[in-house]
């Protein structure tokens, strides 16, 4: 009995310790805004993109030189942003600037996102609809425009068009403007793969869990974006919380084309990752791969790379949706700056100033285009201030094409990683032949509903 009492009291003491810590933490937070007049010495930023972590060191050094403020950039390892953010937010050194990945990501962190409607940076945003808003106020500002489509190797395609045994009537990649054309060319190329010196037309459809985002997120975006457009859903209401997946057959069209005309047998896709797919493209083992402009470095940076920069081009992902000859590649963003609402006013101001400096001053803009390699969505940048990599140039080209509507990135409203994993797993099973396409469609629609709790 005595033992039990002592255990219980020990527990009680510990609980008090914990709640006491908790209480202290809160008073710290409420006290800090009162120190408004204090000069801010540091801004903390939690960076999402590991590939450009080093560029931020340079930016921090430059900003320190200009203003004397320390910019402390911490980078979350690939795929761990949410968990790192969860952990850091609970500390007294919570990031002043962090990022969310769209409207759904915003709801996770809503009470930590400061109102950015009156910031200079937002005023310079070219396309105001890109921002994350709630009740008419702005909480997340996009800072980079990215795009994805089918990346193709122009040299291999030209070799194909020059083949004497070619069975299609097309003579240039620009003539492919529909799914039927793409299918005809791809299937004929697959037949002639030995003459073209490739192992398959498409790089492996990587379907390992966590490496399947090119299909369960990016490819899925296209039929759903068109569906949302058809239904007139604008993401301010509740409309996006259920889907019908009306264009599932179109998704199947292109997915079948990918897995049947690839370097890898469709039963062996479950353990492959994106890096190996990109390497296949870089080494000239395939002619096409679906990915975005961030993949340029993965192509040009691979040792033994056989693709030269001028041969890397984008083609829209055609899947047989009506009107697709006028649709372009998918252009949008899933990177939105947020400023921590719980920081002091002075810190918030300092964070706003830093962001505006980065995207408007001459030095800042140079760092953004050259070091970060961003295509920036702000009017402070002129046409020629865009990064110098082949896919970024392709995106600018597609953005400026007449009569072409590019597809927005609506996968920012996809419910969760859990949903994507489930759907990805279903796609894998379909590729392996253990479930039918109807089952895949059912997973896509029902899991969506379940995750939103609708």
């Amino acid at each position: 009995m005595k033992k039990i009492i002592s255990v219980v009291s020990a527990m009680a003491i510990l609980l008090c310790m914990f709640t006491a810590c908790n209480g202290n933490g809160n008073t710290d937070k409420t006290n800090s805004p009162s120190g408004n007049n204090q000069t801010v010495k540091e801004i903390r930023y939690l960076n999402f993109k590991p590939e450009i972590a080093e560029a931020y060191d340079e930016i921090a050094a430059e900003y320190k030189k200009e203003t004397g403020i320390n910019l402390i950039v911490e980078t979350a390892a690939s795929g761990t942003y949410e968990s790192t953010l969860t952990a850091r937010m609970a500390t007294s050194e919570a990031p002043t600037i962090f990022q969310v990945n769209g409207p759904i990501g915003y709801t996770s962190w809503a009470e930590y996102c400061a109102d950015l409607t009156d910031t200079e940076l937002y005023k310079h945003l070219t396309d105001k609809t890109l921002a994350v808003t709630s009740n008419g106020r702005v909480y997340g500002i996009p800072y980079v425009v990215e795009g994805y489509g089918i990346i193709y190797n122009k040299k291999i395609l030209d070799n194909y068009f020059a083949l004497p045994e070619k069975a299609t009537e097309y003579n240039s990649a620009d003539e492919i403007t529909s799914f039927n054309a793409l299918k005809a060319v791809v299937e004929d190329m697959q037949k002639n793969k030995d003459k073209l010196g490739i192992q398959g037309v498409f790089a492996a459809t990587s379907l390992k869990t966590g490496e399947d985002w090119r299909w369960q997120t990016h490819l899925m975006n296209i039929p759903l974006s068109i569906e949302f457009r058809d239904k007139g859903i604008d993401f301010t209401g509740e409309g996006y919380k259920t889907i019908d997946f009306n264009y599932s057959d179109n998704f199947k069209n292109i997915f079948d084309l990918y897995i049947n005309n690839s370097t890898t047998d469709k039963k062996q896709l479950g353990t492959l990752d994106v890096t190996s797919s990109m390497a296949e493209f870089a080494l000239g083992k395939c002619a096409m791969v679906q990915n975005g402009n961030w993949g340029a470095s993965q192509i040009l940076g691979v040792s033994g790379n056989k693709v030269s920069a001028e041969d890397i081009k984008f083609m829209p992902i055609y899947m047989g949706i009506p009107g697709e000859e006028n649709t372009g590649i998918c252009i949008g963003t899933e990177n939105f700056f947020c400023i921590n609402e719980k920081a002091s006013d002075a810190e918030k101001k300092a964070a706003e100033d830093f962001l505006y400096w980065l995207f408007s001053s001459e030095k800042g803009k140079k760092l953004v285009t050259e070091k970060l390699g961003f295509i920036s969505p702000f009017d402070t940048f002129s046409q020629d201030e865009s990064p110098d990599d082949p896919l970024a140039r392709e995106i600018v080209k597609w953005m400026n094409k007449d009569n072409i509507t590019n597809i927005p990135w609506n996968f920012t409203v996809f419910p969760s990683v859990h949903y994507k994993d489930k759907y990805g797993a279903a796609l894998l099973k379909y590729a392996q032949g253990s479930i039918t396409w109807d089952d895949v469609k059912k997973v896509a629609v029902e899991e969506w509903k379940r995750e939103f709790g609708a």
């Binding site: 609980l15 914990f18 933490g25 937010m89 996770s108 869990t209 047998d265 859990h418 489930k422 392996q432």
Partner: protein, 284 residues
């Protein structure tokens, strides 16, 4: 002496006590508390009572599945690891040639970290399955048995060492007495060796049981996040981190509740198991 001890006891006790409190007791109590709340970050939470516990047993679709999978996995690996480890230990105490080399070889896998092991085995298993045109994700059973093989490979060496120590501790006169009484090898094994190594059996089953039940990194590295091959620890991790959006706080709470149930199960199983085997031990 006693007086000095009394005088200086805080010097000896406080560092350890502080370390224990900071790194175990406080997080543990916090964790239990958080399982009754919904929270986004640990310092701000809303009390919701038992709601999380109700959710994980009713609406959550993965918890019971991975619990059952974990139980199956634990049963299979406890049996296979211990039987194989004990057999190897018997062989390697017979004074065969090269005994030391074999002991080393069997022990080495235990020195490799879980993530590395998982990746090595994923290469091996997919390499073999590749001949049949499939991979480990093709059938959930492949993932399950792959994990069993991996677990055996890693733990057998360690358990073997414990069994060898146990077998070497058996006094020679017991074996001699058995031989004089005309016992066969099998009878000696069942009636002398096994009862005498019961303390080793206790510790080995305890170690394999908890290790298999808590398996995480090997599972992550070998099976990725494939939903059908996720054991309990990985499921908790996924519950906590793979959900975003409006219900984030709820998923965090549910992850925490799963972790508490997980702890209770591990504690309970270990306790029962420890008591059950203790009673079979022979004093000598």
């Amino acid at each position: 002496m006693y007086k000095t001890l009394k005088k200086y006891f805080p010097v000896f006790v406080i560092p350890t006590l502080a370390a224990f409190a900071i790194s175990f007791a406080v997080p543990f109590v916090m964790g239990v508390y958080l399982s009754f709340t919904e929270f986004k970050i640990v310092s701000e939470s809303n009390w919701v009572g038992l709601a999380n516990y109700i959710r994980i047993f009713t609406t959550d679709e993965t918890f019971l599945y991975s619990l059952w999978l974990t139980v199956k996995f634990t049963v299979v690996s406890v049996i296979t690891v211990n039987i194989i480890a004990f057999s190897i230990a018997l062989l390697l105490t017979k004074g065969l040639k090269g005994t030391n080399i074999f002991r080393t070889v069997f022990f080495v896998p235990n020195l490799i970290g879980g993530i590395v092991l998982g990746h090595i085995w994923s290469l091996i298993i997919n390499g073999v399955l590749g001949y049949f045109g499939v991979d480990i994700t093709y059938n959930p059973d492949y993932g399950f048995w792959g994990l069993v093989v991996l677990m055996n490979w890693q733990l057998i060496g360690y358990m073997m060492i414990i069994y060898i120590a146990g077998i070497q501790n058996i006094p020679d006169n017991l074996n001699e007495a058995a031989a004089i009484d005309g016992a066969s090898h099998f009878q000696t094994l069942i009636h002398v060796t096994v009862p005498m190594v019961m303390p080793s059996v206790t510790i080995c089953t305890f170690l394999t049981l908890t290790n298999s039940f808590k398996l995480f990194d090997q599972n992550l590295a070998l099976n990725g996040k494939a939903p059908e091959s996720s054991l309990l620890a990985l499921d908790i991790y996924k519950t906590f981190y793979d959900h975003t959006g409006l219900k984030l706080a709820q998923w965090h709470g549910m992850g925490q509740a799963k972790a508490v149930v997980f702890f209770l199960l591990v504690a309970l199983i270990a306790y029962v198991q420890l008591r059950a085997t203790r009673q079979k031990e022979v004093e000598h």
